[in-house]
Symmetry: C2
Subunit: 143 residues, 2 copies
DNA sequence: CTTAATGCAAAATCTTTGCATGAAC
DNA sequence: GTTCATGCAAAGATTTTGCATTAAG
């Protein structure tokens, strides 16, 4: 506690670049993909810094994190209206924010009933979007 | 398809041991922990086999899998009444099966509204159980 | 000037794969 | 006798950490 309102860390071009690149992305992005995009964009930033920045952003609630089927962390800039859940297309990666009020309420109820404290929840929906389902180009069994 | 009803693979002592050990566990267990338990129990089985067996069990729906906060895969023998969700205590690892009918229905509705196909969902609840919350013995920040 | 961020390389984890041996059918 | 499972060791992958350099306050 030194006096600053919130977000205690030091502004740097790298951090700005990471957040901006993440905001520019439509869906969820991995640290590695983000780093590649930045590099391709001419921005020189270390992979390490990308990882560190994403962790900070997640900790400060500025981004959402989910895990893909391999356990890889995927990040997305949070739309500024708080907690959100997404429906990801397994084929094309399309992400849709879904209304989860019902689930939120359910989670609170579960916390109350079970007597657990500080209950947090992670919810990941995956499927095949109508578009991909229509023109099934692959033939992939599970990926 | 060779004629067998279901569960196409070959019965071996190792596979039996893994499934039995998993069943004996109360909560969720990682492959490594399970392997350690088996070894401690005098059962000689390779870590590789544990991994492979758990994947088979998951694929055939005999076990549930969640991921802890580090992305590590945790397995649990499925109680025989299908799809389940759990509430895990971050302190002691206690796992509670929670009734998720509401969420199941919600997921189906989301699938319908969005036009997605084969929608699957992963839901993980974590918190601090009343017991741990009462007698906060540690002071651990995250592990 | 002091404190913190960067970035490279190396480490640490969990998980999967190659290949020879042994078990199951 | 053929086919599949096992297990060791090595590879693969993602993410974190050590440490000197450089930038920010």
């Amino acid at each position: 506690m030194h006096g600053t309102t919130l977000g205690e860390w030091r502004p740097t071009p790298q951090r700005a670049a990471v957040l901006q690149a993440l905001t520019a992305c439509d869906g969820f992005t991995s640290a590695q993909t983000l780093h590649a995009a930045l590099t391709a964009d001419g921005v020189v930033v270390g992979l390490t810094t990308v990882y560190r920045t994403l962790r900070l952003l997640e900790a400060s609630g500025q981004v959402d994190m989910v895990r893909d089927s391999d356990g890889e962390r995927l990040y997305r800039h949070r739309p500024a209206d708080g907690h959100r859940h997404y429906l990801l297309c397994r084929r094309c990666g399309l992400s849709l924010a879904v209304d989860s009020e019902e689930v939120e309420r359910w989670a609170v109820e579960v916390a109350r009933v079970t007597g657990f404290h500080d209950v947090d929840h992670t919810l990941e929906l995956t499927g095949v979007c109508d578009n991909c389902h229509a023109g099934r180009d692959g033939g992939r069994t599970d990926a």
